[in-house]
Symmetry: C2
Subunit: 318 residues, 2 copies
Amino acid sequence: MAGKDISVSRLLKLAHQFNCFYLSGLQSGNSWPFIVAGRQVGLIRPDVLSKLSKYPEVFNFQTNCVTLNPAFRDYAERSAKIEEVLKECRAQGTFITLKGWRDECYEVRAGFSSEPLFKMDRSATCLFGICNYGVDINGYVMDPEKGLCIWLQRRSPTKQTWPGRWDNMVGGGLSVGYGVLETAHKEAEEEASIPPELMTKLRSGGSVSFFFESERGLFPNTEFVFDLELPINFIPKNNDGEVEKFELLPAKEALVRVLSTEFKTTSCPVVLDFLIRHGIITPDNEPHFPELVELLHVPLQSLYRVRSCTENGDVCTT
Amino acid sequence: MAGKDISVSRLLKLAHQFNCFYLSGLQSGNSWPFIVAGRQVGLIRPDVLSKLSKYPEVFNFQTNCVTLNPAFRDYAERSAKIEEVLKECRAQGTFITLKGWRDECYEVRAGFSSEPLFKMDRSATCLFGICNYGVDINGYVMDPEKGLCIWLQRRSPTKQTWPGRWDNMVGGGLSVGYGVLETAHKEAEEEASIPPELMTKLRSGGSVSFFFESERGLFPNTEFVFDLELPINFIPKNNDGEVEKFELLPAKEALVRVLSTEFKTTSCPVVLDFLIRHGIITPDNEPHFPELVELLHVPLQSLYRVRSCTENGDVCTT
């Protein structure tokens, strides 16, 4: 209970890990806002800034922000011009993250409910600190003996990112042209072969948001979370070669797994949110409960909105 | 779906209402940090500052913050000295909120997991912008015909705050000496006469946090939320005279009620969170879903932590 334990709990330490940029890098002010059509859509680290400065016809450098050349008037032109630069960078090996080029694009917007301004290969969004949106499905079983059990997947050892790490049962990014629910159904089929009749039990449960940083770049991520109760005899089966195996774990063992270094750091928020919503992590067993819940929902939607860009490129607060 | 509707939804407008201080007053910088034992525990509005300046032996005014006299060395002394001032203010009618003096105290801490520094009557905490913690129980029924239904209460017309407004089935503040789960059980008995055998189904579901402001003061509130599935034939019955009546509403009608002006503004977050966790409000029917979820969990635990006070009373970032 409150006050009983004032040391930082293991769960809070983990929440600090997947929010490492939110809690420190963001405050440092070293990264510059990335402005498109007068609105901030991202944040660029100094190491990336120095590389992009070689493309002044695409990226205009102001005193404290980078603006996409306003001569590019629409979605298609902006997308094409940026892709050209990224493909050159990829060919020259400028950024490690581009080794994982996916030929799959994410929409870039100034806030989830705004119109897309352009699209970008998903391997590159972390260079620009662009908000990524994904969908995750918590597959669970109510076992008469073991109680609440959760299906986890082990990522294939050949995956470009986080190879061999433990992960949620089903998860995938929101690609251009796909809606949230649509992505949930697509990924459930591709990653775990869940038949449509079982998917009728899919329930929206909320979303998590956090801001992670790695050597690859910046990851302001929002995941739409769904819960799916599965029959006790159903076993997920991978369809796309991206999963090594699945394992069903009682809730408390799943929590131990999440706390281990074997779990993909950026997938931990979804499991923690599930365990909180299902009464496994509670204010009575986690002394930092309110802070943990807040760190699962950091204010990404307003993070970039406090700044906008005037016509001459200056950043000002609105 | 995303991009389809870019106007501000009714739900987002409501989230702006119960976060009116978080979204505007906080940025204005007109309120001053309230520092106790070197740590910020609150925020004081200019109207309150001018009244408190009459008590320099208790409240030390620095250039940009107010410090509780550091000569008060412990919990008991701090509590007593502040209570003395508040009782004088109450007798003189200085603050309208003190008309609702409750003889019931809240602990004051710099963060939920920190040791309490002193206690204060619950009617006064809004004068100092002190974080309040409460417990709410969403009582619900799975009706075979109507689906998910929610019990709401109408507050007594004689209540000091929000008289006659609609509210959650059960809710109450975390008073000195009571834990989270303990408060849930106490309030369930007092407000709705829920028998212990039904309370075995009580499940922790998370917490919401928001920062509201009214003419009475500042309300940075965290509510620990619990769900309780009730039998279809159970009817809550008030025990303490604070409830006019209870009503069971299908989830969608409950949402209409929450959006009406008849609902207590600061109780809306708990119902919205319930409707999100139970798949009624989803990314497919609410275009601003991620922003709504973030505004139900604003970072109150870190809001005051960025500042601490040096020995000579200056506020500095840590």
